[in-house]
Symmetry: none
Amino acid sequence: MASVSDVIEKFFKELLEQNQGKTIQIQRNEVAKYFDCSPSQINYVLMTRFSVQHGYYIESQRGGGGHIKITMLKSENNKPAYHLLMNEIGDEITKTQAHRIINALKEQKYISEREALIMKAAMEDSALLSPLNNRDQLRAQLLKGMISVLFH
Amino acid sequence: MASVSDVIEKFFKELLEQNQGKTIQIQRNEVAKYFDCSPSQINYVLMTRFSVQHGYYIESQRGGGGHIKITMLKSENNKPAYHLLMNEIGDEITKTQAHRIINALKEQKYISEREALIMKAAMEDSALLSPLNNRDQLRAQLLKGMISVLFH
DNA sequence: TATAATTAAAGTCAAAGAAAGTCAATAAGT
DNA sequence: ACTTATTGACTTTCTTTGACTTTAATTATA
């Protein structure tokens, strides 16, 4: 039951793959027609799945011969920009936002599947639910959560 | 005397079985309709039977094309060791004790060096320093801590 | 040739639609 | 009595659509 947006996302990523993850150029209206959706949905997909945070860069031009260019920001050794990440996280973050960041790191092959799982385990509400104001209790919850994902 | 919740639990577990215990993706409303129950009952089943402690991991998405993904955390299980560990950790644990456990896991090659680093980062007092009553702040501290160790 | 009009794109934004999440009240088992 | 299930009203999040705007290239006109 993948949404149309999911399908379009996959389509772009496959095109990029075929192109050695460099850059692809598309025509918004063509793609929209191909997937039988409104053109603005293409923008939606770009916004929600191809932002700089996701490791992509978008350029475009309007008017005759207009197009959209998607570039994959692939630094050598897949190292994302540390300070950008720290900035993005900021002083507080929800579980969903945290997942997005972790997934992006995984997709950019900076962390493994297992590493992602460990980190997600520490982001769980249940892991952070310390009844008393006790750091040692919190630590226990966290450690158990992280170990659980590895052992099961 | 199997309750509807029990039946749904079984249903999910059979689906997972068929899928080699990897992961299944369902639509909450579909399942609810199939079992003729309220959609929120699906959440109840997930909460009470598919938590991380039970060896499962849940992710979901709302909106169009929304779904719930149930992942079975692989069971190459050394269950006794797991339970011993959980016991050893107990309800609270100091940073030093936590390090000892993590180091032991590393020695026994259950986790990699990097994985150990990530887990230790989450055990730091500084990561747990933020007001414990604000989960989002705590989460941000933790995530930043865990990512930081990967960059050094 | 310089400007105006036309056409061909892409961008924006808000409303409607489609899921899933939450929580508290009730019901059913033990 | 106490714990576990069930339900439903309400909330939040994500997707889809379409009307309207902006920009660029091309064509027509003075």
